[in-house]
Structure formats: structure tokens, C-alpha cells
Symmetry: D2
Subunit: 256 residues, 4 copies
Amino acid sequence: MGTVLLSGLHARMASSSASSKKSSWQAILVINYKAYPSAFGDKGLAIALAAEHVAEEYQGVVRVVLAVPATEISRISEVVDKAVVYAQHMDPVEPGAHTGFIPAEAIKEAGAKGTLLNHSEHRLVLSDIDKSVRRATQLGLETLVCADTPTVAAAVAALSPTMIAIEPPELIGTGIPVSKAKPEIVTGTLRLVRMINPDVPVLTGAGISSGEDAAAAIRLGTLGVLVASAVMKAADPEAKMRELAEAMAREVSRRK
Amino acid sequence: MGTVLLSGLHARMASSSASSKKSSWQAILVINYKAYPSAFGDKGLAIALAAEHVAEEYQGVVRVVLAVPATEISRISEVVDKAVVYAQHMDPVEPGAHTGFIPAEAIKEAGAKGTLLNHSEHRLVLSDIDKSVRRATQLGLETLVCADTPTVAAAVAALSPTMIAIEPPELIGTGIPVSKAKPEIVTGTLRLVRMINPDVPVLTGAGISSGEDAAAAIRLGTLGVLVASAVMKAADPEAKMRELAEAMAREVSRRK
Amino acid sequence: MGTVLLSGLHARMASSSASSKKSSWQAILVINYKAYPSAFGDKGLAIALAAEHVAEEYQGVVRVVLAVPATEISRISEVVDKAVVYAQHMDPVEPGAHTGFIPAEAIKEAGAKGTLLNHSEHRLVLSDIDKSVRRATQLGLETLVCADTPTVAAAVAALSPTMIAIEPPELIGTGIPVSKAKPEIVTGTLRLVRMINPDVPVLTGAGISSGEDAAAAIRLGTLGVLVASAVMKAADPEAKMRELAEAMAREVSRRK
Amino acid sequence: MGTVLLSGLHARMASSSASSKKSSWQAILVINYKAYPSAFGDKGLAIALAAEHVAEEYQGVVRVVLAVPATEISRISEVVDKAVVYAQHMDPVEPGAHTGFIPAEAIKEAGAKGTLLNHSEHRLVLSDIDKSVRRATQLGLETLVCADTPTVAAAVAALSPTMIAIEPPELIGTGIPVSKAKPEIVTGTLRLVRMINPDVPVLTGAGISSGEDAAAAIRLGTLGVLVASAVMKAADPEAKMRELAEAMAREVSRRK
């Protein structure tokens, strides 16, 4: 019975609650570098340094996470401290004979504190999400699992990841925020996830491009936002990150 | 809000409850033809006719479902009446330009009443399971979604399929029944699925080869069994199906 | 050395030449049913019966091949005789424990004489194309392997399929024929394929919608055309097939 | 015609010949780090430093290539100079919105000079190998494409990669060298590849574990070896690399 309990919903929830740092931050800003030209080399480092500034300014209030390409994890991890580095993906394999695959150990060794999983540009087999969340959790890595519909988010909640991001794929990269175009997708997701696994925070993704969008994400009840092009293609990425962080910080302080 | 409600957990549960035939059968015997040599042509038809006999004998008690290869759905559907034909897979696409893919409409047109999904030999992307269950439900098709662990079963429950089968892949085809080797996987699955979506029945799969195994599956609280090699490789498939049905029928009558 | 020779280029070319029916037809019209609404049930059967008429009329000149959904192979095979039935895909597995996969034996048992492989809507792993061509050839099934570029066609030629279709994906379904928009892709493919495996005929696909397009395909040096929407969405599919066949028949007679 | 010529066999061969460094080395030793525990962090760096020693010793005779995990490319590239760093895989995408995928630009920016592709543990869609070889070549990156059979190697030759490795998957990791167990697979591959694209060198992979195996690979006519576990699991990786390099160096000097 032991192994089932350990692998079961409540057991995993318990262990993930234990290691969570929820108390230390009230909102979250996740930057998905994707494979944009600005994601690599000096450009990617410059955005990371800018993120570090924003993370310092909003320390204790808004956590800043950078989901960077696998090839950039080690270089970016060396230059940030307050900002947190995630991978964009990891493979559900153990270390061994797996040419071209990236086990949890690889991203941890390179300096990542967690990983995105199941982004709509990189959809995963259900059992592989289960295995990846399990392996990441065992190694103390966080998981932010993306979902394209409220029911998918509900399914993901049963796997007890650290966080879930709801991202309707038809809005990704459009600049039309889900929080405005389809707020019921966000609130529907929150309702289902809370029924199944109330300890898993939900993030709002897809189309987030302004402070107003980020504030709306907080008002709807999510913990923060997952953004990509709004920052990675910005003329001034630091100003854009600060705008998003500031809007969320204001919203959470208003809430008290 | 409407679309979310429609796509939401409770709405889908409601509609699937409405169309369910739970009242008409107390146990279920699902035969997965796989791609065994006996699955095709006259051999596949002979097993279907044998299944029809068993389905007649246990009518109202044990439902018999045949999950057959895509190429055999139409021929087998023509010769069975009490036994029910399922596909082994369907693709999450709408009719259109999808060379070599099988939409829900295709299996329905050919005579299938439902489909297996996400068998451990054919694992699916989470979002595709969600879409497939949704599309099948819209067309009045049943879905039996396989899960390899209790947490995967919990995730699947959130998608409101007609049924879930728990099949630890390491036991498939071994003749070592999960109900004996790892009963806690079955009971752990039942516990999690009931927490999330209590209306979704669970089946026991993997290693089921005897009446005793089938009876144990009922005793553990599942609705029946998903078997493959035990029937498809049997010297006398009809006798084997009768053995499995009889054991489950005895077990459910004892329960009353 | 024996097995390598058997699996080698020349050995396979030799055996495929031996079984080829090149002498019996001078042009080919392949209709890809895809998963269009008209592909299934009575509609699919009606198009097959219409194709049978065209196949009878042009017997000995234009071969008519119908690439139909897996679920329709057996029903359509029963009603055609001069027209030939292909699958749209097959999986590179041997009969056995492969839930939801379709081995060569399955399509052969259902009545198919061959299969499409690697359509741009259903791209395959290189080694799986190799295995599928090998398995199909062993069972006496033909293979029509699609390629999206001349170099991919050259690579496919090395696997010695029965035929190759060049289909630039950006033109599929557009009604803009590759033979007009990019004739150099067709001639470039012919040049490379002839260098590597001169016995493998090439077909022109993508955007073929009129007799003129089909005639151009013959003039460019290919054996015929692979069409889908032009027939499957036609108000009068029989008239459209006759138009395409007639144009090719005229072109080949002019050539003599 | 221009684009076809550019994408055609001879044009690509010409450009790859132009940039090849064939004259500067007579044999090649490729170490596939895979995802072995010794591939990451300090252990992976230590093996790279050892490889650098061997590369220095055999400079001008045996080229040493390290195919390392994506997360390690930048760190290892910084510490080696004579030894060359490859990725184990790259994705056929252009920079842009591709979460968790690795474009050619990413591995180049991190310091890689080339990449493995299509390893039997990471098999690729044919069109994606074509695209990846094309994109890598455009960026000046080398490609070492793996093949599991002689006909697959022949197909790969048509795509004009920098090199091809023949690796029968059933021998990988066994310590049974293909050069001994199935030399006809190596010679059959050489024969087919030379027919199609004589400028593409072939490497021997699978089961190579001793200097004798490496010498046999040279004697059979291949340019060198692709090894993994023999080095990555060795008690003394440097000694093992030296053994392999020395055996090949002796063999090539004998040949003159």
C-alpha cells in the first residue's frame, strides 16, 4: 500500500506543500524565452540581468522565473540570484542511454530550479507528464504544467505539479489577453483545479502583454502570469517586466 | 460561462450519466483484439461470433465489448448484436484533410459504439485524450481510457470518459494478474477516481487470464476486466470468455 | 552477406521490378480519400463505384487507385474490381500486441493492394518508412511513398518503394498545381530519383485539380497524379475523375 | 531551377565538400555522452578534458568529437580546443515560438560545431532530417546522421550530411562490435552510400569497445567509430579513448 500512498494524490500534495515557498511571494511573473532570437547568447543574458533587477525590486512580493532554452540554463543560472531559472522542457527518462534527451538531473545540474512542461507548442503524453512531475519532485525541482482547456487543467491538477498555467492556444502570441477575451476559461479552470487539488496555484497565460492584463490575472484569482513575446520581443524588456510586476504588486497590495 | 460549463467536469459527467447504460449490466468483459494474428479476417470474425454467444448467455449481467482493429470494425459489427464493438483508437481530428487518421465519425460510421484510448501500447498526448473524449461524447460514442498508474487514472477521471481501465504496463501479457500482484494499485485507483469523478467506473486490466482473476477484479470494486492475450491466444476463445463472464456473474450475484 | 544483399537496394529493386505491372498501364490516377466527410460510408462507396466506371473505361491505359480510410478498406474492396484499393497508412509492426496499430497483414486481409506512406499530413520516422516498405514488399503489397522535397524523394528512392509522389506541402489543397507553380520541383525530383533508383516511377501531387494539370504532370515525365480535394469535394466526382483520366490518356497517346 | 539546384544533391555535396576538413584528419573518434550519469557537470567536464589530451596527441591523425547533452554544450565548449563539441540532437525549427525546442542557432551559439541526428534512441521523421541537415549546413554546422540499416544509410546519403554512422540498434551497448558480429552490414552500407553520394564518410557504431574493434572499423573502410558506453562507463575514460585512437592511428598508418 505504501508505494501507492507515496505516489497518490495526497501524499504528493503533502510533500509538495512541504517544499513550497508560497509564503515568500504573493505573485509570480514567468518569462518563457521560447526559442526567440533574443533567447540565446548575450541577448538572453541581457534579459536575464534585467529580470534580476526586477526580481530584486519586487523581492518578497513578485517572484520572477525565467524559462530558458536548455543550452542557456548554465550560463544564465550563473548570472542571476533573485530571479529563478527554469527549463522549458525535460524528458521523463532516468540518466542512461538516451541520446538527445534531457533528464531532470541534467537541468538540475545546469542550475535550473524547475521546468515548464506540456506547453501547447510542446504537448506531452499524459503518462510522461505524470513521470516528469514525479521525477522532478523527487529531485526537488518545481514543475509548471501548461493546460489548454479547463478540463486539461483539472487532469493536470490530479498529478500535483507545483503550478498550472492555463493557456488557450488560440490566444498565444496574439496580444489578446485570455483574462479579457475569455475570463470564464480562467475562472472555470480555477473552479475545477480547486475541486481536485486546492493547493496547486494557477497562472494565466496567452496574450498577456500589459500591466493591465497582469492585474486582471490577479483579480481573477490566479497567482500570476506566463508571458513570452511581450517581453522577448519588447524594445525594452526590463521596462516591460517592471510594468507587469508593478501591476501585480499593486493588485495584491490592494487585495489586503 | 456557458462554454466552460459545457466543457466542464460536471456538465460532461451529467451528459455521460444520461446516456450511460449502467442499469442494464452489472459487470463488463472487454476483449482487446490488439493486432494479434487471430484479430483479422475469419479468425477475428470467429472470435466475435463466440463473443456474441457469451453476450447472449449473460445478457443483463455481463456486457461483452470487443475492441477490434480499425480495418475489422465494419465486418465484425455486421455479425454481432448483443456484443458491442469498439475501436482500439481514434484520432482527435474532425473530418477533413487528415491522411491516414481516423476521426470519431469514421469508427461510428463503421459500426463502433465506442473506443479504447491511451492504451499503454498507444499512449496519447493529454490534450488529445481530452479532445477525443469530447468528440466521442458529442457523437454518442463511449470511451474506455487506459491508465498506467493511479495518478494517471485520477487525471483521466477529470476528463469524464465513460470508463477507465487501470493497467500497469509491466504486467500486460504476463498472465500475472494485477488484482493479485498489486491489488493496492487497483484499490488506490478506485480511491482517487472516486474522489475526482465518482460516476466513472474502473476496470481492471493487465495479466487477467482466469475466472479467478476476473472474480478478484469484481471483489476489489471494479466493474470488470480488460483482457487480450488470454482470449486472443486461447485454444478455445469462447470457453475462455465464458469462464471470465461466469466468474464475474457469480461474484456480482454473491454481492447482492 | 546474404541478408544484406536481400535488404539492399538492388535486391529490393529486382524483386519489386519482378512483381510490377508497369506494362499493363501507362498512367496512374490516385485518389486520396483523406478523412473528408465524403470518404466514409455510402458516400465513400459511391465515389468508389464511380472510380470503378472510370477504371473500366481507361483499362490498360490509366490505372485508378483509391487510397481509403482504414475503416473503409473492406467495404470498398468488395465493390470494386478494376479500380485498386490502397490504405492511407500502415504501421511498421508485425502482428502482435500493438493496440490501435495497423500492420501490413491487416490492410491486406481487408482487401488493400498497397498503401500510401509518409503523406505530408502523416510524416513518418525514416526507419519506419524503411521497415514499412520492406514488410509491404514481403507481403506483395505496393507502396506509394510521399516526399515533400526533391532531396526527400531521393532519399525515399533508396528505400525502393513501388512509387514516389512529390507533393510540396504548401500547395496541397490550394488548387495551384505544382506542375504549373513549381515545375522545377517535379523535374528536379525526377532527375534525382533516376540517379538513385531509375525503376521507381514518380507521381505529381499537390494542387492538381483539372485535366490540364494532369496532362502537365505526364508531360513533365511523371507517371500520373495524386489528387484529393479535387475529387472528394467535387459536385460530380465521376466527371472529375474522367476529366483527369482522359487528359492523361490523351497525353500518353500523343507521346507515342 | 535555382532553388532546386541549391537544394539538390550535387549542389549540397559541393558546398559540404568545400567546407569539409577531410584533409586535416585521417580517422575519427566520436564519443556519444548520451545521458549517462557521467555526462553531466564535473564528470562530463573531466571526460572532455581527457578527450582534449587525446585530441592533442593524435592531432592531424584522429579527430575527437564529443556529442554532449544540450545543457552541457556551453560549459564543455569553453574547456576544449582540439576536441570538437557536437550536440546530440537539434530540432528542425527556425528561431521563434518553439517552447522547449532547440534550433541550429542555439547549439551554434552555445559552441557546438555540429550535431548527431537520428540516433536509434532518437529517431526522426524523414523530412525533419532533411530540414535539419539543410539548416545545419546553412549555418556551417556539421551533421552526423545515424542509420540502423544499410538502406536507411543509403537514404540518408541522399540528404548529403557531413557523415553517416551505421549502428544496428540490436548491438548498441552490448559490447559486441558490429565490425565483428555483422561486418556485412558495414560493407553493405559503404557500398550503397558510395553509389549514392561517394563524398559522405561512414562511421562504424554499436558495440565498439576496444582498440581492436576500432581498428576493424578502419579496415572495413569506414572513417572511424561512434562509441558511448565504452568510454562513458569506463573506469579510466582517457585510457579508453587513447586505446581507440591509437588503434585507429596505427591502422591508418599501416594503410599507406
